[in-house]
């Protein structure tokens, strides 16, 4: 280190950064805190921060009244199955593009990316109509298919950037040692590809969980995931802050935790390898 950082400067940095960090995080913190208050405390003026009668009542009420579990299950199934299916389709594609690139690989990758840029609202009615015709409206199957397709380009891209980092020499060495293609894939490549696949899985699960255009437009009571569940709190239940907060906390908690693990993948996944 050529430059010595003074203790004072570091303290100042820390104070400012923590202040701003807490300010940005505050709406999330406030929601979590409010979820443990009574309705009266939730709208108290002046607001109460930590010193109130902590209660779990809101969580119980939300569960009971609005069938939270069904929405949660829908979210898990839609986000989970669509991501896994997407990976199953994308792994071979990303694989071949990374290891057997041709002149058209780049064009195909960019074309895939361009499908992601298609504004959803531009194809809203066709999808809606197809869903009615195939009786997919308000079904988990329908949502799984749509979610898989909208995330497929990101999945292919992320996997491609991970696979490309696997050195080709290792493959050649395995081949020299007489490994068959099957053995090569199973014992040499797969172990090296697992971290990349896991990261891709994580980020796309999060993206699918939070998707709120198709879920709001293509589901109702039966297949609605948590995004739709929260939208149903818009009014008048939304005015019961403590319950709104409990519902919100339950909807975002799993993803906040997963999200913290996926900071690095976020950059790679959403900039298509352009920022590393």
């Amino acid at each position: 280190m050529a430059r010595a950082v003074t203790h004072q400067r570091k303290t100042l940095n820390t104070a400012i950064a923590w202040g701003i960090g807490l300010l940005i995080f505050f709406p999330v913190l406030w929601t979590i805190l409010t979820s443990f208050k009574t309705e009266a405390q939730a709208i108290a003026d002046p607001p109460v921060f930590f010193f109130f009668d902590w209660t779990l009542e809101n969580y119980a009420v939300v569960q009971e009244r609005s069938d939270y579990m069904r929405y949660l299950l829908n979210s898990v199934i839609i986000a989970g199955v669509s991501t896994v299916l997407g990976i199953v389709v994308a792994v071979p594609a990303a694989w071949s593009m990374a290891f057997v690139p041709s002149r058209r690989t780049k064009d195909i990758l960019l074309w895939m990316l361009s499908t992601k840029m298609l504004p959803a609202v531009g194809v809203l009615y066709p999808i809606y109509l197809i869903f009615i015709e195939l009786e997919l409206l308000d079904t988990r199957t329908g949502l799984v298919i749509v979610m898989m397709l909208i995330n497929l380009p990101i999945i292919v891209w992320m996997l491609y950037t991970y696979f490309r980092e696997i050195p080709g020499e290792i493959l050649e060495a395995a081949r020299m040692d007489g490994a068959s293609l099957r053995e090569e894939i199973l014992y040499v490549l797969t172990p090296m590809a697992v971290p990349g696949i896991a990261s891709t899985l994580l980020l796309n699960f999060i993206l699918a969980w939070n998707e709120a255009f198709w879920t709001l437009n293509l589901t109702a009571a039966k297949a609605g995931p948590l995004t739709a569940f929260i939208a149903s709190y818009s009014s008048p239940e939304g005015l019961f802050y403590a319950k709104l907060s409990a519902a919100s906390t339950m909807a975002i908690a799993p993803i906040l935790i997963l999200g913290w693990f996926s900071q690095k993948q976020l950059v790679r996944g959403l900039t298509f390898g352009a920022v590393k």
Binding site: P27, A93, K106, V121, L129, A212, Y241, L244, G273
Partner: protein, 288 residues
């Protein structure tokens, strides 16, 4: 090295993904184009025949069109301005040595993982509500009349909510870019006696240029299609009807599919213009 055999195997491995995306792109797109040239009202007579470019003309000449373009530009522009400016400052700050850097990063990134319906509803009710919202309490504390955020400053309110959601994305990408900056260059500048602002303008900012461009392009594509934030707050009233929301209303609420589809085609063209620039950068990186 690749043999003919492995080439055809590679093609077969790519086929499912390419096929699915091709269908996903072409079928709805063709249908949208088809409907856009028709007078099609599912609830009022159904398919009433071809109308040429009538829908395209009517979409842009309707009284709702220009206000929606304006709302879209203000929201997208506002969010871009806020997230890039604050994002650069925040990234510079987070790049400094401090205690608990990891925790601060987590705090700053958190909003990105909050689903859009939750953040919109929490901001709308718990912060911006003119009676019980935290902002109302705050303004009363300072002796001011509480503002009815979503009806008196609707565009600003939505811009604020969306900026809060996207600031983490901008910050994280700019921070990542910043960390790849060559420290020796900065130190050389410092030794040559360049003041901090000059070092920022001549060394740091050029280094961040590509990352900023990427942030702007990617965010623009996502911001052009924000939906949930408007859906659960103002439902498009008070001048917050963006192009996306207008098309949604034409298609699903008033079931004027022809007109909405023409709007959809405009939205697709618009998004593609932005995408073209993005692809050029991404493509260049692919070669590197």
């Amino acid at each position: 090295m690749a043999t003919l055999h492995s080439r055809s195997a590679a093609r077969a491995m790519m086929a499912p993904a390419v096929f699915l995306l091709l269908v996903w792109m072409l079928v709805p797109l063709t249908m949208t184009l088809w409907f856009s040239f028709k007078r099609y009202l599912p609830l009022r007579g159904g398919d009433l025949g071809w109308t040429g470019f009538d829908n395209y003309v009517r979409f842009v000449t309707s009284s709702a069109f220009w206000p929606s373009v304006q709302a879209t530009l203000l929201i997208v522009g506002g969010v871009l301005l806020i997230t890039v400016l604050v994002g650069v400052l925040l990234a510079l700050l987070l790049d400094q040595p401090m205690w608990g850097q990891g925790v601060v990063r987590i705090l700053v990134i958190a909003p990105f993982f909050v689903m859009p319906t939750v953040s919109a509803l929490v901001w709308k009710n718990m912060f911006m509500d003119p009676v019980n919202g935290l902002f109302a309490h705050l303004s009363k504390f300072f002796g001011l009349a509480p503002l009815e955020w979503l009806s008196q400053a609707p565009l600003f309110s939505i811009t604020l909510i969306v900026s809060w959601q996207w600031l983490p994305f901008a910050t994280l990408i700019l921070l990542t870019a910043l960390q790849s900056l060559d420290r020796e260059q900065l130190e050389a500048g410092e030794m040559d006696g360049a003041p901090p602002l000059a070092r920022f303008l001549h060394i740091v900012l050029p280094h961040l240029a590509q990352a900023i461009t990427i942030v702007v392009l990617i965010q623009t594509i996502f911001l052009l299609s924000i939906f949930a934030e408007i859906f659960v707050t103002t439902q498009g009233s008070f001048g917050t009807r963006t192009l996306t929301y207008l098309i949604f209303q034409r298609v699903l609420e008033s079931q004027n599919v022809g007109l909405g589809s023409a709007g959809g085609v405009y939205a697709i063209i618009l998004a593609n213009i932005v995408a073209l620039f993005l692809m050029r950068i991404v493509g260049r990186n692919l070669d590197a």
